[in-house]
C-alpha cells in the first residue's frame, strides 16, 4: 500500500519525475507520428501496387508475348478460387499530340476495360468513367472516336501541393501512338514502314497512386495494342492478371496457378509458337512488383532500426532520472527498511514508479501524437502556404495527403516498448536501491 502512496507523491512532488514523463512522452510522440506516417506510406504504396496488378500475374518479360492466353484464361476461370482474369499487352510507344511537335516515350497497356476492372481496380482509378468502365475508351465528347486513357500525370497539371486541376469533362485532344510491332520471333515486322501508328482521343485519365505508372502509362483497347505492337497469326499478350476469390490465401493460390500453367504448357508443347510459353512465369503481386516495393520496405526497416536508437535513448533517460531519484532517496529507502520493507518491496516501488512514468509518458505521447496526426495535413498546408515548406514532394511520393491512419497494433507495440524501456531504465537503479544497507543511509543523515 505504501508503494502506491509514495509513487503518487513522488510523481506529484518531484519535478525530475515530470521531466522523465516528458522525455518518454516526446519519444513516444515522435515514434507514433513518424512510424504512422511511414507505415501509412508503405502500406498505401503496397496497396496501390496490389490493386494495380491484381493478385497474381501470369506473364513474360518479353515484349513478344505469348499465345493461347484465352484458353488458359478459361482454364483459370473454371477453377473455384479465381474470380477474374484480364489479358494485357504491355509495350512501349512514342506519343505525339496532334499539332504539337513534341514526342514522348510512354508505356502502353492494352486492356479490355471490363475484364481488367474485374481483375484490378482499374475502374476506380478512372475519373469520368469510374461507374462505367466499359466506356473507358469512348470519349464523352465523341463516343464513336477511338479513345485512350492517360495516366493522370500525363493528362493533368498538378500544383506543388499535389492537387490536380480537374476538368468537368475531358477536353478534345488527339494523339498519335507509334509502336514497333514484333513478330513471334521477336523481330521487327516486315511490313513496309516497320512501325505502326494509330490515332487516339483522350477519353479519361487513371490515377493509380503509383508515380511511375501515372506519369508514363497510356491505356488503349487490347485489340488495338495487339495490332500496334504485335505481328503474327496468333494473338498474343504479355500477361494475364488474375484476381482470386475473397479469402483465398495468396501463396497457395499462386502455387495452384503455377501447377495449372505447367500442365497447360505441357498440353501445348506441340502447338505453333509453343516456345513462347517457356518464358512465361507465374508470380504473386508481391513478387511481380518487388522492384518497386522493396526500396520502400527497406526504408521502413532502416527507420525501425533508427527508432530502436530512440528507444535506447529513452532507456538511458529513464535510467539517469531514476538513478538521480534513487540517489536522492537513499534515506527514504533506509527508513522503509527500518520499518520492515523488504528488498523486493523496495525494488517493486521503483519498478512501479517506472511503470507509472511509462504509462503516463506513453499515454500522453500517444494522445499528443494522435492529436498531431489528425492535423498533420493542415499543419503541412499551413507551413507550405506561409513558408513554402513541404514535407514530401508529391511528385516523388505520389500521395494526395500525408497518411495519418492509426494502426492500433503499431500503437500497442510502441506503447509496450515505451513501458518496457522505462522498466529496463529503472531496473539497475531499482536493484541498487533494494541492495542499499539501511545503516549506511540512516546513520548521520539529517532531515
Amino acid at each position: 500500500m505504501y508503494k502506491l502512496k509514495l509513487i503518487t507523491r513522488y510523481l506529484l512532488k518531484r519535478r525530475i519525475t515530470h521531466f522523465a514523463v516528458l522525455a518518454v512522452a516526446l519519444c513516444v510522440f515522435i515514434v507514433v507520428v513518424v512510424m504512422t506516417v511511414m507505415s501509412g506510406l508503405v502500406w498505401g504504396f503496397k496497396q496501390n501496387n496490389h490493386e494495380f496488378v491484381g493478385d497474381c500475374i501470369v506473364g513474360t518479360k518479353s515484349l513478344v508475348g505469348f499465345p493461347y492466353y484465352e484458353e488458359f484464361a478459361q482454364v483459370l476461370e473454371r477453377t473455384d478460387f479465381v474470380t477474374a482474369v484480364s489479358p494485357v499487352v504491355k509495350n512501349y510507344a512514342l506519343l505525339r499530340p496532334d499539332a504539337i511537335d513534341v514526342t514522348a516515350g510512354v508505356e502502353i497497356l492494352g486492356i479490355d476495360p471490363v475484364r481488367h476492372s474485374r481483375a484490378t481496380n482499374f475502374a476506380q482509378t478512372l475519373y469520368y468513367r469510374a461507374d462505367n468502365p466499359a466506356a473507358a475508351f469512348r470519349p464523352l465528347y465523341d463516343p464513336n472516336a477511338l479513345g485512350c486513357v492517360f495516366g493522370i500525370d500525363l493528362a493533368l497539371p498538378k500544383s506543388a501541393m499535389g492537387q490536380y486541376a480537374y476538368n468537368i469533362r475531358p477536353t478534345r485532344r488527339a494523339y498519335a501512338l507509334t509502336c514497333f510491332p514484333l513478330n513471334a520471333r521477336g523481330a521487327p515486322s516486315r511490313s513496309a514502314s516497320m512501325v505502326a501508328t494509330q490515332r487516339f482521343f483522350y477519353s479519361d485519365h487513371s490515377h493509380t497512386g503509383i508515380a511511375r505508372v501515372d506519369g508514363s502509362t497510356v491505356y488503349i483497347p487490347l485489340e488495338q495494342a495487339q495490332t500496334l505492337c504485335m505481328d503474327g497469326e496468333l494473338k498474343r499478350v504479355t500477361s494475364l492478371h488474375v484476381k482470386f476469390r475473397a479469402g483465398a490465401a495468396l501463396r497457395p493460390s499462386c502455387a495452384r496457378v503455377r501447377e495449372l500453367w505447367n500442365d497447360f504448357r505441357q498440353d501445348k508443347q506441340d502447338a505453333n509458337d509453343a516456345y513462347l510459353l517457356d518464358t512465361v512465369t507465374v508470380e504473386s503481386w508481391k513478387e511481380h512488383r518487388r522492384a518497386s516495393i522493396a526500396p520502400m520496405e527497406q526504408e521502413e526497416v532502416i527507420l525501425s532500426v533508427m527508432f530502436s536508437f530512440v528507444g535506447m535513448t529513452t532507456v538511458f533517460i529513464v535510467f539517469v532520472v531514476f538513478y538521480m531519484i534513487v540517489s536522492h532517496k537513499t534515506r527514504d529507502i533506509g527508513i522503509l527498511k527500518s520499518v520492515g520493507a523488504s528488498n523486493a518491496s523496495v525494488m517493486a516501488l521503483f519498478s512501479g514508479f517506472a511503470l507509472v512514468v511509462g504509462l503516463l509518458g506513453s499515454g500522453s505521447g500517444t494522445l499528443a501524437g494522435l492529436w498531431f496526426l489528425a492535423r498533420i495535413n493542415q499543419v503541412e498546408g499551413w507551413l507550405f502556404e506561409h513558408f513554402g515548406w513541404q514535407l514530401w514532394d508529391r511528385s516523388v511520393y505520389a500521395i494526395g495527403a500525408i497518411p495519418n491512419r492509426i494502426e492500433p497494433g503499431l500503437l500497442a507495440v510502441i506503447i509496450g516498448c515505451a513501458i518496457t524501456a522505462c522498466q529496463i531504465g529503472a531496473l539497475v537503479p531499482g536493484y541498487l536501491a533494494a541492495r542499499l544497507r539501511p545503516v549506511e543511509t540512516l546513520h548521520g543523515s539529517r532531515t
Binding site: K13, V339, R437
Partner: protein, 232 residues
C-alpha cells in the same frame, strides 16, 4: 508489570568497519540482556559503537561475530522475510534526525509501518483499524491537530514525537531510540524523555542510546559502552 523475562539477548557481539585501509573494531564482545519493561540507556562517547549496537539489536545490521536473540530466536538464523517482519512488528526505531518521509503527512508517516506490512487489498480491509490506532498514537503524542501537516511544517520536538508515534504504530515489544534528543534543545529534549518515561511506565521496553550522562540518568538502567565492551 514484572521485569523478569529477557526478551533480547546479545552474546559476544563483534563488529568492525573498514575505514580506508584500516579496520576499526567498534564492538569487541558485547554481552547484553534486555528484560521486558526495561528502560535501558546505553551511554558512550561518540564513535564508541552505540548506534552500531542499536542497529544490530534492531536487525538493521549484522554482527561479524556473536548472536542476538529475541524471545529466544536467533536473528542471524532468521530468513530475510522473518527479519523484515521482526523490524516491522517487534521493534520500533526512533532516530536522532527523526527520519520522516517528506512526501507523507504526519498521519501517513505514523501509518507507514502498518502500510508496509499490508498489501493493497489487505490495507483496504484493515485501514479503519489502522487509522484508529494511528489517531490513538497521535493523541498520545499530543499531535492530533497536526495529523494533516507535512514534516517541514513541524518543530523538531514535534517531528521526534511523530517518529516515536511511527515506532509505536505496530505496538512493538521493543523501542530502540538512537540519541532521540540529540538534535533538540534541552527543553524539547526533556519533553521527549518525558514521553519515553511515560511509555515505559505503561510497560513499553525501551533501549536508548545517548552520549549524555544526564539523559542516561533518566533511564532506569544505564549501560556504558567503552572500548567496544559493556560495563553495567
Amino acid at each position: 508489570m514484572g521485569k523478569q523475562a529477557a526478551i533480547l539477548k546479545a552474546d559476544g557481539l563483534h563488529k568492525a568497519y573498514r575505514m580506508g585501509t584500516a579496520r576499526v573494531k567498534v564492538l569487541k564482545g558485547v554481552d547484553l540482556t534486555v528484560r521486558e519493561g526495561d528502560f535501558a540507556a546505553v551511554i558512550g562517547a561518540s564513535g564508541s559503537g552505540k548506534s552500531t549496537l542499536l542497529h544490530i539489536l534492531g536487525g538493521l545490521d549484522r554482527p561479524d561475530e556473536g548472536t542476538v536473540s529475541f524471545d529466544g530466536r536467533d536473528l542471524s538464523r532468521m530468513r530475510a522475510r522473518e527479519l523484515n517482519r521482526y523490524r516491522n512488528e517487534m521493534v520500533g526505531f526512533v532516530f536522532q534526525f527523526y527520519h520522516l518521509l517528506d512526501e507523507l503527512n504526519v498521519l501517513e508517516n505514523v501509518l507507514l509501518p502498518a502500510m508496509v506490512s499490508r498489501s493493497i487489498a489487505g490495507w483496504f480491509m484493515s485501514r479503519r483499524v489502522a487509522r484508529r490506532r494511528a489517531a490513538e498514537v497521535l493523541e498520545q503524542m499530543g499531535l492530533s491537530d497536526r495529523a494533516r501537516h507535512k514534516p517541514y511544517q513541524l518543530s523538531g520536538g514535534e517531528r521526534q514525537r511523530v517518529a516515536i508515534g511511527r515506532a509505536l504504530m505496530n505496538e512493538p515489544r521493543l523501542l530502540l531510540a538512537d540519541e532521540p534528543t540529540g538534535n533538540l534543545d534541552s527543553t524539547t529534549g526533556n519533553g521527549i524523555l518525558a514521553v519515553l518515561e511515560r511509555l515505559n511506565q505503561a510497560g513499553q521496553t525501551i533501549v536508548m542510546v545517548t552520549h549524555d550522562e544526564r539523559i542516561a540518568a533518566r533511564a532506569e538502567r544505564t549501560i556504558t559502552l567503552a572500548d567496544g565492551k559493556i560495563r553495567e
